[in-house]
């Protein structure tokens, strides 16, 4: 009988990712409503098991720990095979992933190996006995699509940030597992994972995003954007395609139709015109602030608060004011 819930606990370079806690929190929610246990799986180089307690605190009854040096870098083939074997032993009503870079690669591999239906970028879900229903934005966020997955086990990959990690401590009993295939036999090999020089917080995780466009004039002025992000303390820096095309920021910072889709609590657009392809990536942000010297710029149509003016002049004043406000808080 399918009753347990599986959650993939993403890690990178020995660090647990926030996605891991989101997946476990989602799984816990289903288990609390329908019964069964949450089994979270964590894979990495020796020592990765040290994070098991955090997964227990987020609601994992059992933490399946796979420690092997061949999992030090992401090992998609061995990981997918091992998860698929686990799911195929039955007993799982749903398997949760998060649609991060890693999750987007992994979840469809697992779904194909298990011949199970998959939903990605899920913003809302219900898991029933022999089916699940989800919402999944499409058409660059302009259409919300509702789907049914017809299967006793549903594979659900959540949009990052769709579920906020919650504490709900369970036993988190550790069960050591091993790879179902020789992990060195994988055809797809990640030879290197290179850390960016960017901010510590990722765009998908940050509650606040300060984003810059061509209006910043030159790469060095991004310092002003970084300073404002630093003043918030919980902010990441984003950019438009005009900026990544210029090479002022890496492509991984690009927000929009062909970049990252984000929905932070607060999005501050500096010197950004608000092209439709940019809006596609950030229009679901809770509060939007725009600073642009052109009062006709389309970004003002969706900004909750707009300031007309030169961002090079306004940003330092805003940074100082935010620092002051944070002090008082």
């Amino acid at each position: 009988m399918a009753s347990n819930i599986f959650a993939f606990a993403e890690s990178r370079g020995g660090e647990l990712r926030r996605a891991a806690l989101e997946a476990v929190t989602a799984a816990r929610g289903v288990a609390d409503a329908t019964g069964g246990q949450v089994h979270a799986m964590l894979a990495g180089d020796a020592g990765i098991g040290a994070h098991a307690a955090k997964l227990g605190a987020a609601g994992a009854d059992v933490v399946l720990v796979l420690e092997n040096p061949a999992f030090g870098n992401y090992n998609p083939e061995a990981l997918a095979a091992t998860i698929a074997a686990r799911l195929s032993t039955g007993g799982y009503r749903a398997a949760f992933f998060v649609s991060s870079a890693q999750g987007r690669d992994l979840a469809p591999r697992v779904a194909a190996k298990c011949a199970l239906p998959l939903a990605v970028d899920v913003t809302e879900f219900t898991v029933g006995g022999d089916s699940a229903t989800v919402k999944h934005p499409g058409y660059t966020g302009k259409v919300i699509q509702s789907f049914t997955l017809k299967s006793a086990t549903a594979i659900l990959s959540l949009r990052p940030g769709a579920v906020l990690p919650k504490e709900n401590a369970k036993a988190g009993t550790i069960e050591q597992i091993s790879s179902i295939i020789d992990p060195r036999s994988s055809r797809v090999v990640v030879t290197e994972t290179v850390k960016g020089t960017g901010a510590k917080l990722d765009l998908g995780e940050a509650p606040v995003i300060v984003s810059g466009g061509r209006g910043l004039k030159e790469a060095s002025n991004f310092k002003l954007v970084e300073d404002l992000a630093a003043a918030f303390g919980n902010a990441a820096v984003g950019a438009t395609r005009a900026v990544t095309d210029e090479g002022w920021r890496p492509h991984s910072d690009q927000i929009g139709q062909t970049g990252r889709l984000v929905s932070p609590q607060l999005y501050i657009a500096c010197g950004i015109s608000g092209a439709i392809q940019h809006l596609a990536g950030m229009r679901t942000s809770k509060t939007i602030v725009a600073i642009n010297k052109d009062k006709e710029a389309p970004i003002f149509k969706i900004a909750d608060y707009g300031i007309v003016g030169d961002c090079l002049e306004i940003l330092p004043v805003l940074t100082a004011a935010v620092k002051e406000a944070k002090k008082g808080a």
Partner: protein
């Protein structure tokens, strides 16, 4: 090198969509259609690989699309960019289950003995982000997803994938499947000569074998509208008011 590129026809996103009376489709009247963004990058990347071969004429770029007859227009466009021939897997009803689409595409791909099979990272309309990896699993081929750089070197794929705040360098042997992210190559515009040539290139039409779907669309809706924007002031003098609103109204500070 024999390269296949899977391309999807999608509406232009630069519009305000309406939902059709059925509630399960967008109202397509008046919309313009084109090749899905990432699939256009994939076609360009494939053409560049072909052009880099010692004998480009010995390589072939085949574009494949599953859908009703209107996808022929999209296939012709890819051929006007430079693809050598096209296959339409004819299927008139919309399909939403990426497993069903992948299976139909994989059945065709199996026949072609391709060295490299290229998908987009995601289709810009339904955005399942999974058709490529599922097809690769069905074909038992290695796959590298969402790549922003690609090099074919000594029978190997060498690629780069952007992560959150990092990137990965990845290798796998050919034959292989890749899915293409932005950053790899901006699609070229078809030349007049290309457009003329495309009219004479072979376009084969075959029935698609689409299995019953286990991921079915119940409805489509428009997201709630954002309240109209508001300009609170000009220049740096507006900063105190902004900070007050962020604190007291939006409660994000």
């Amino acid at each position: 090198m024999k390269i296949a590129v899977l391309i999807k026809r999608v509406p232009d996103m630069d519009v305000r969509f309406k939902i059709a009376a059925s509630g399960t489709n967008i109202d397509e009247s008046g919309l313009k259609f084109d090749i899905s963004d990432f699939d256009g990058y994939a076609v360009e990347a494939a053409l560049q690989i072909k052009e880099k071969q010692a004998d480009p004429a010995a390589s072939e770029v085949v574009v494949i699309s599953l859908g009703p007859d209107v996808v022929q227009e999209t296939l012709r466009k890819a051929m006007s960019m430079g693809a050598d021939r096209a296959v339409q897997l004819k299927h008139d009803a919309p399909v939403h289950d990426s497993s069903a689409i992948a299976a139909a595409l994989a059945a065709e791909l199996k026949l072609g003995s391709y060295d490299l099979i290229m998908f987009g990272r995601m289709s810009i309309d339904t955005a399942n982000q999974s058709t490529g990896p599922i097809a690769a699993e069905l074909l038992a081929l290695p796959i590298v997803t969402a790549i922003s750089k690609l090099e074919i070197d000594g029978g190997k794929v060498k690629a780069r994938r952007e992560l959150e705040g990092a990137y990965e360098l990845i290798e796998c042997p050919l034959p292989a499947v890749v899915t293409i992210d932005e950053g790899i190559a901006r699609p070229r515009y078809p030349s007049l000569k290309g457009i003329m040539a495309a009219k004479k290139k072979p376009l084969e039409v075959k029935p698609a074998n689409v299995a019953s779907e286990r991921y079915t669309l119940d409805k489509m809706e428009l997201p709630p509208e954002r309240a109209a924007g508001r300009i609170i002031g000009e220049g740096k003098d507006a900063v105190p008011e902004l900070v007050r609103l962020l604190k007291e109204e939006a409660k994000v500070l």
